[in-house]
């Protein structure tokens, strides 16, 4: 089985479980945020992918980390992926699952990175603005990423709308 097929299989499984539980929106949001947390933390990646740590112990780490902060479904799904030894693919699995969830709602996934958290009002207005700009209703996923320094960058499918300070600085560096 190719890695892509396996990722797609896990994504479909996560999606079906969350939808069956009736917590799709909440679970996909929590999974998305956990995936970004996983990407941003080398310590967490090392802990969840270390083959020397028994799977049960790695699952316990997940449960300790998320216990009380996420729905039981989210915790169980992540624990299941980690326990099966595919923690390395977790961000890709979650991204595929979120895309599937957005598609099921006839929405386009819009990943937005911001240096600071957005208020709900800002998220609503941004969702509307992106829908206007892309011509698609979007499922907005906000990632707080201090590396962008300021401003926002939105990725909707293959479209990237970049208004970050980091990009402006990089362009300035290139010109220099």
């Amino acid at each position: 089985m190719s890695n892509d097929t396996r990722i797609d299989g896990y994504a479909r499984g996560l999606f079906e479980v969350a939808r069956a539980e009736g917590t799709l929106d909440e679970v996909e949001d929590e999974l998305f945020r956990f995936a970004r947390l996983y990407e941003g933390s080398e310590e967490l990646r090392n802990a969840l992918t270390n083959e020397l740590i028994p799977p049960a112990k790695r699952q316990a780490i997940v449960e300790d980390l998320l216990g009380g902060k996420a729905t039981p479904t989210t915790v169980q799904l992540i624990s299941m992926v980690v326990g099966s030894g595919h923690a390395r693919d977790l961000p890709a699995i979650v991204d595929r699952m979120v895309q599937r969830a957005a598609a099921s709602k006839d929405l386009a996934l819009a990943e937005v990175r911001s240096a600071v958290p957005l208020t709900q009002d800002q998220q609503d207005r941004l969702k509307a603005a992106l829908a206007n700009a892309t011509g698609k209703n979007v499922d907005l996923k906000v990632v707080v990423d201090p590396s962008v320094l300021g401003g926002l960058v939105a990725t909707v499918g293959d479209t990237v709308i970049d208004g970050t300070v980091r990009t402006h600085l990089d362009q300035l560096k290139s010109r220099l």
């Binding site: 957005l118 800002q122 941004l126 320094l149 560096k173």
Partner: protein, 194 residues
């Protein structure tokens, strides 16, 4: 016994004894210089005979010896003359050869001069070409080094400027600025329709 002794002995027997004063001291002549008459006659006769015999017998031999000697001397003279002629010829040949050697030497020297001049000209040309090449390479190296230095300087300035820009921007990104950037982005995206 020699011929002279025989003649004297014969004359002594034939001549009278009065011609000599014979005493117990032997025969003594009457003159301190001239011999006795008979002795003179016989002596002269004997001498003539001897001389005649000598001329008769030894003359041809002497003449032949002289002729041989003359011929030998002549041959030696001829030989010397021939040697002289040979030596002259050899000397002439040597002089000729020396002349040829001198001409060859001159020719070789001239040829060597020509070759030396050609080599010198060629070496000078090559040296000048190498110098020109080295100068061009040095110029290129200097230009490259200058360009490299300028590039490095430009890169360093850019890096410092970028780092400074990073620090300035990060320092200026307070909460109000962050919010303004977000609002500007939303407004800008909202204004752009697909």
């Amino acid at each position: 016994m020699s011929l002279y002794a025989n003649v004297v002995a014969t004359a002594s027997r034939l001549l009278p004894t009065s011609e000599f004063d014979v005493d117990d001291q032997g025969v003594t002549s009457h003159h301190w210089l001239w011999p006795e008459k008979a002795e003179l006659i016989y002596g002269t006769l004997a001498s003539v005979i001897i001389v005649g015999l000598l001329v008769w017998k030894a003359g041809p031999l002497a003449k032949k010896a002289f002729a041989d000697r003359t011929a030998k001397v002549q041959a030696e003279l001829d030989e010397a003359a021939q040697a002289q002629a040979d030596a002259d010829a050899e000397a002439a040949r040597i002089r000729q050869a020396l002349g040829d050697i001198e001409a060859e030497r001159q020719r070789l020297l001239a040829e060597a001069d020509e070759q030396a001049k050609a080599l010198l000209a060629d070496g000078r040309a090559r040296l000048q070409a190498e110098i020109a090449e080295l100068e061009a390479k040095a110029d290129a190296d200097i230009a490259a080094a200058a360009t490299r230095a300028a590039d490095e300087l430009r890169f360093e300035i850019s890096r410092l400027a970028a780092a400074a820009a990073d620090r300035v921007v990060e320092a200026s990104l307070d909460e109000a600025t962050q919010q303004r950037l977000i609002e500007d982005y939303i407004a800008k995206v909202g204004a752009s329709a697909s």
